[in-house]
């Protein structure tokens, strides 16, 4: 029983990270219909940035956080400007290959800069862990869940209540109509990349203290984020959130009850099943409800 509760807690914690990664992917798709295979690398850069700025340069945590997010967002913007926008033939296959190429470049750069060995940072606070009914929760888990909730909540408010957010939604629904009403779709695209890469960085930052941070950690994170986004239905904010949690919990139960080796396989089997059986996502009611 304690075990099960423990799996649940770990699942929620890791699931929140997947949720944040998924939200980034999903929001980019919603505004630009691009699926970025290099999204996981933004999370990796986030984690690595924190390792350098906070762990090694000993900057204050809030400053390191802001700098990392800003830096990764810059990378995202450069990526959009120089790799996505100049594409002459924006066919999905070309874009898949380009973003896969980008992910390898990012990984290669990270390997050169941070080396091949895992690096670690301490937890954000030195509070002891909390025990509920025999299951242990480390404070970092709580921060992760809180970060995911805050991010999803603020994005929700952003899309619902700000002009910019509404303009982005308009762009997503109908690019041409939005353009005709004077919304610059290219700037919206850039803004979407900003949100996407920034939230990727946030995922990386919050997960950094609880994982082995390596140059290739992004691949798995990105793929699982995609899986989560698919579960929730691509383009849906809370769908991505729920999908992330579900995936995280399933993974932890799978790892605990079956074997830890198959942990990663669960996400991929789930991904294939979703793709085959309900590509609209588990919670999809109607196409029109996605926005």
């Amino acid at each position: 029983m304690e075990d099960l509760l423990q799996y649940l807690f770990s699942g929620i914690s890791i699931g929140s990270v997947y949720a944040v990664v998924a939200i980034g992917l999903s929001m980019l798709y919603r505004s630009t219909e691009l699926i970025n295979f290099a999204h996981g690398e933004f999370a990796m850069f986030g984690a690595m940035g924190l390792v350098t700025l906070w762990g090694q340069l000993k900057l204050p945590l809030p400053l390191a956080f802001v700098l990392t997010v800003a830096g990764v967002s810059m990378v995202g913007i450069l990526f959009e400007r120089f790799a996505i926008r100049p594409v002459k033939d924006p066919h999905p296959i070309s874009l898949v290959i380009i973003t896969v190429g980008a992910s390898i470049v990012f990984r290669g750069v990270a390997m050169v800069v941070w080396g091949k060995d895992p690096v670690a940072v301490p937890s954000f606070s030195s509070h002891g862990s909390i025990e509920i009914a025999g299951a242990v929760i480390v404070p970092q888990s709580l921060y992760i869940v809180a970060a995911a909730l805050v991010l999803a909540g603020s994005l929700h408010l952003f899309f619902r209540y700000t002009l910019q957010g509404k303009a982005m939604t308009a762009c997503a629904v109908n690019k041409k109509a939005a353009w005709l009403t004077g919304i610059p779709s290219s700037r919206m695209g850039l803004f979407a990349v900003l949100i996407s890469s920034g939230s990727g960085a946030i995922a990386g930052i919050f997960i950094a203290p609880v994982t082995m941070n390596t140059y290739d950690m992004g691949t798995m994170l990105g793929l699982k984020g995609f899986c989560a986004a698919m579960i929730g239905g691509l383009g849906s904010l809370w769908g991505a959130f729920a999908g992330g949690l579900l995936l995280g919990i399933l993974e932890c139960f799978g790892a605990g009850l079956i074997s830890s080796g198959c942990k990663d396989a669960i996400a991929f089997v789930l991904l294939l099943l979703i793709l085959y059986l309900c590509p609209g996502g588990l919670f999809a009611q109607k196409q029109a409800d996605r926005f």
């Binding site: 699926i35 295979f37 790799a83 100049p86 594409v87 002459k88 033939d89 999905p92 296959i93 070309s94 874009l95 898949v96 290959i97 380009i98 896969v100 190429g101 980008a102 992910s103 390898i104 470049v105 990012f106 990984r107 290669g108 750069v109 390997m111 050169v112 691949t219 793929l223 995609f226 899986c227 698919m230 074997s259 080796g261 198959c262 990663d264 396989a265 991929f268 089997v269 991904l271 294939l272 793709l275 085959y276 590509p279």
Partner: protein, 313 residues
Amino acid sequence: MDKERVHNLLFVGVVVVTGVVVENTYLLQVMTFIGINTLLALGLNMLMGYAGQVSLGHGAFYGIGAYATAYLSGTLGISPWLALVCAIFLAVGVAFVVGRPTLKLSGYYLGMGTLGFGMIVHILFREAGSITGGASGFVGIPMLTLGPLLFEGGQSYFYLVWAVVFGAIFLCRRILDSKTGRALAAIHGRENAAVALGVDAHSLKLTVFMFSAALGAVAGFLYAHFVLFISPDSFGFMASVKMVTMVVIGGMASVWGALIGAVVITLLPEVLHGFADHEMIVFGLILMGVMIVMPQGLTKGVMERYARYKKRA
């Protein structure tokens, strides 16, 4: 047609002479790898270039070929040639089962689906330790023999691999120059029109998927009996990406392009030996650069640019 025959003869001649003239084992080894990579690129090229379907998990079939022969001939001790047949059947069977639902997807979903498939197979190689030797790899793959012939590294293996490459090129040509090839070009050009003319797009894509899986398995077989030691990492995501890079460099939809792509991708790490750590960056930049600047592939792109340049001059 005659020009093509000249090209073919020239190609065979170059390979035969190379095999005789070159005595340096290292060079022969590199050229053998080029042959194996050409096989991989040929298969994926049929799928990506002609059928227009991306696969980011083709390393799986390469691995299935390698592990199937390793297990069957290494552990169970059956003849490698029989193992080859089994490996091909296994790869084609897996391609059928996986391809049926996956090839209904398109665009990004297809990319993700194939990637996920590749990952699952990679994890299986790593986790099914009792069969595959797990993460530390499989040792004890026998060398290939055919009657009195022993294919150990060097010349004999070089010729074996390139003979298979010739065969594969020949097969691809025949398929492309037929009703099937026309239908492939049609679904690549305008799928809905092709379907309206009665081309069963899904089953055609599936056929090509299985064919490319078979070529991948043959390449895996040749790889396994050449290096005699295999580990999961040779067949993971990077392997799949390398295959895609070869096809993209060579230019999709070109049989010779596959060869050029294989040459570039095999030689690049050898040339960049001092920059081993930068290999990934270079691959990634090539992929991005080619797709952004010359989406029709490096060979075609350079040739077109050259033609334009000559016209102007």
